[in-house]
């Protein structure tokens, strides 16, 4: 995918050569090395092929329950969640659940209406790569991950709420 930002050892970088590619259900997979496919297609592939699905990422729509992919998380290299609009916050909850409840360790990618001013929130909720909207500058967007980042509550990246840490200062 183009216009990518990824976290490398927790630090945000522009990823000039990202191998992943969002693939529609009616698009053939032949020539694509790292496709991101729908969960339905991924399930079908898992049942019919011998391991082809292992090189695929899965995308979930905002209405999909992340619990449905929970049994396969160890084998999924990437999960893409969609922001149909940057004002639609469902993917924050999906990401948070994938990380904190179901223990997903792979790459969690934000796709759709992904903009600079929400990247910090996305990272808190567990996203590790960000497909910035095509018409935006990815280098400008990168700044969204260096700046205001404080929260009081816990998040996927800071599992202890501030009140647990406040008491520890000497």
């Amino acid at each position: 995918m183009n216009n990518m930002i990824g976290l490398i050892y927790g630090v945000a970088h522009v990823l000039p050569e990202d191998p992943w590619c969002l693939v529609d259900d009616d698009q053939p997979l032949d020539s694509i090395s790292s496709p991101i496919i729908s969960y339905v297609r991924w399930q079908a592939l898992r049942e019919t092929s011998e391991g082809d699905e292992l090189s695929c990422g899965v995308r979930l729509g905002p209405d999909d329950d992340p619990e449905t992919v929970a049994p396969w998380l160890d084998t999924l290299p990437l999960i893409a969640l969609e922001f149909p609009s940057f004002r639609d916050g469902r993917a924050y909850t999906q990401a948070n659940l994938l990380r904190t409840r179901y223990g997903y360790k792979g790459d969690l990618r934000a796709t759709g209406d992904v903009l600079r001013d929400q990247l910090g929130l996305m990272r808190h909720c567990g996203f590790s790569s960000f497909a910035v909207r095509e018409d935006k500058s990815v280098t400008e967007a990168l700044k969204g991950l260096f700046g205001f980042d404080m929260i009081y509550a816990r998040s996927a990246t800071s599992p202890e709420p501030l009140f647990r840490r406040r008491g520890l200062k000497s």
Binding site: D117, Q118, H124, I151, E160, R166
Partner: protein
């Protein structure tokens, strides 16, 4: 009151820097208005009819004298010399330049204030009642938990893009003075037999187009679970709340669609997953926050002050004010004083000038402990005043036009800013408020009417809470003309109810006459000491309807 520590300071400062950058990017065109909109809303900036409006958060309605002076400075330096206090205990400045907002936020940050999440589809200012910590009928001071909730909900990354706005109120008094049942989450705080703090959690209230009182989903929740339980409610809402239609997006619609029991089960299921983790509150954290809300050094004084008694006897105007505008305090010899921001036609409800703010700040220091509260009814409160100082305070307040003895009476109108300012409003609510205040300015008559709330909203968004006014007035636009629909029987507090429409809407100039007729019906039917709302409950709306729309009939009945 709560004092910022290094984290709180660092957070608001970083937030100011972030918004300064966002404003610069908007002004340079790098951010489109569409992209900027939620960012500015979450920093309290609305675009109104004539200018930007900035809504500053006043957490649970508590201000220090210095904070109030900072608000006066903003009113004078960046606005037209006044501010407007809202029903959710915040203050709005109506004539703001976008370019200046970062500087205003900086000034606020220096005074331990902010405008974070005073708008937008996120958790808004946590509210409680103006007499928290001092009310005679209070069970537990709700402010420490309100502050804990404020912190938890501030920039909580999972819940900043909810389907719609989300309002939480907490109360712990016999009379609920925080309108908790009209909130997305209403929390009632009480104690069990062992003295442990418990919460009753009510979800799905809200006014607007579809007025609904919230319903209980959890009784006796130990306070340690406050944050996890609210988190569970918000997560269920964020996942399943409607996003296809703005008018169906509040949590009340989800609760109604699922049914309160199914909704409660969904919340419980979610809560079971998170309840005993690190987000469970600790006694240490409660103690840390509660420390800032310790009672001030009250003097040990007699409940009865002879000088105070003498002034009461000597000065009837003072006596009327004391009766109407002061409330019992839990400490003997003290009272809480309500400053009416509704002097009548001379100022819109909730509007306070910079000069008034400064005088109030000084009076709070001179006679109290330097603390001021904002009431849900848009008035100000000085919570801790010695009875022996009431007379001097009253004189000073009179000089500032803040001593109108009409608290809880017909002219203590709640009103939204309406079409004079707001771009959402379909009608102008302030001229109607003014006309009513003008018509009913006889204090003896108002006192004879007794307790009566009158709430006005300029459109169906219901910011003036017309649904829960004993008399509610809703402005509606019909083919470009302003009309006003009247409801009666609404109430907030322990016996909350939604008012009922009495009939066809009126033109603005007909409203005072219609109110007059409603009052005539009340006066002819009321029993001894019966409040307006109780008369409505007893006899129903039919006699009022008749009285308003067929005057002759009503008169006939009244004379029988």
């Amino acid at each position: 009151m709560y004092r910022y520590d290094e984290y709180d300071h660092a957070l608001v400062q970083a937030r100011v820097a972030q918004f300064r950058d966002q404003v610069a990017r908007r002004l340079s065109g790098e951010l489109s208005e569409e992209e900027f909109l939620p960012l500015r809303l979450q920093n309290g900036v609305y675009l109104q009819r004539h200018a930007y409006m900035l809504r500053v958060a006043i957490p649970y309605g508590t201000l220090s004298s210095n904070q109030l002076r900072a608000l006066a400075q903003i009113a004078e330096g960046y606005d037209r010399g006044y501010g407007h206090f809202t029903t959710r205990q915040n203050i709005q400045f109506n004539w703001i330049e976008l370019e200046q907002v970062p500087d205003i936020l900086q000034l606020l940050a220096e005074h331990e204030m902010h405008a974070i999440q005073t708008s937008g589809n996120c958790v808004r200012n946590i509210t409680t009642e103006a007499f928290a910590g001092v009310a005679g009928d209070e069970l537990i001071d709700p402010r420490p938990l309100a502050e804990i909730l404020r912190q938890w909900s501030t920039v909580n990354p999972e819940f900043l893009f909810l389907p719609r706005k989300f309002k939480i109120a907490i109360s712990s008094s016999e009379m609920d003075r925080a309108a908790i049942r009209a909130h997305d989450i209403g929390l009632y705080l009480y104690k069990d037999e062992q003295g442990e703090m418990l919460l009753r959690v009510m979800v799905g209230g809200g006014l607007g187009r579809t007025p609904i009182l919230n319903e209980m989903i959890r009784e006796a929740l130990p306070w340690q679970h406050l944050l996890t339980y609210v988190e569970a409610v918000l997560r269920v809402y964020n996942r399943y709340g409607r996003r296809d239609n703005k008018y169906k997006a509040r949590i009340k619609i989800l609760v109604k669609a699922l049914g309160v029991e199914a909704f409660a089960q969904e919340v419980e299921r979610e809560w079971e997953q998170i309840r005993d983790g690190v987000a469970e509150l600790t006694t240490e954290e409660y103690a840390r926050v509660a420390h800032d809300f310790q009672a001030p050094d009250y003097e040990r004084i007699d409940a009865i002050d002879p000088d105070f008694g003498a002034w009461l006897a000597r000065d009837p105007a003072f006596s009327v004010w004391v009766q109407n505008n002061t409330r019992p305090h839990k400490v003997p010899g003290y009272s809480s004083v309500i400053l009416s921001t509704k002097p009548g036609a001379s100022a819109p409800p909730g509007d306070v000038t910079a000069e008034q703010m400064r005088v109030v700040a000084d009076l709070a220091e001179k006679y109290g402990f330097g603390e001021i509260r904002v009431a849900h009814e848009q008035n100000l409160v000085l919570p801790d005043i010695r009875k022996r100082d009431l007379y001097a305070l009253w004189k000073a307040l009179r000089g500032q036009n803040l001593a109108t003895p009409n608290i809880g009476l017909l002219t203590d109108v709640i009103a939204c800013p309406g079409g004079d300012y707001c771009s959402l409003a379909s009608t102008r609510s302030l001229p109607v408020a003014r006309a009513i205040q003008q018509r009913f300015d006889n204090l003896d008559f108002l006192h004879d009417l007794g307790e009566l709330s009158l709430n006005i909203s300029g459109c169906v968004n219901a910011c003036g809470h017309h649904h829960i006014g004993n008399i509610g007035i809703l402005g509606v636009d019909k083919n470009g003309e302003e009309f006003f629909q009247i409801t009666i029987g609404g109430a907030q507090g322990k016996e909350s109810s939604i008012g009922k429409v009495i009939g066809p809407a009126f033109r603005a100039e007909e409203v005072p006459e219609a109110i007059d007729r409603l009052l005539s019906v009340y006066l002819s039917y009321r029993e001894v000491e019966e409040r307006f709302v109780d008369t409505v409950r007893r006899i129903g709306i039919a006699p009022f309807k008749e009285g308003v729309y067929q005057r002759e009939t009503a008169r006939g009945e009244a004379s029988e």
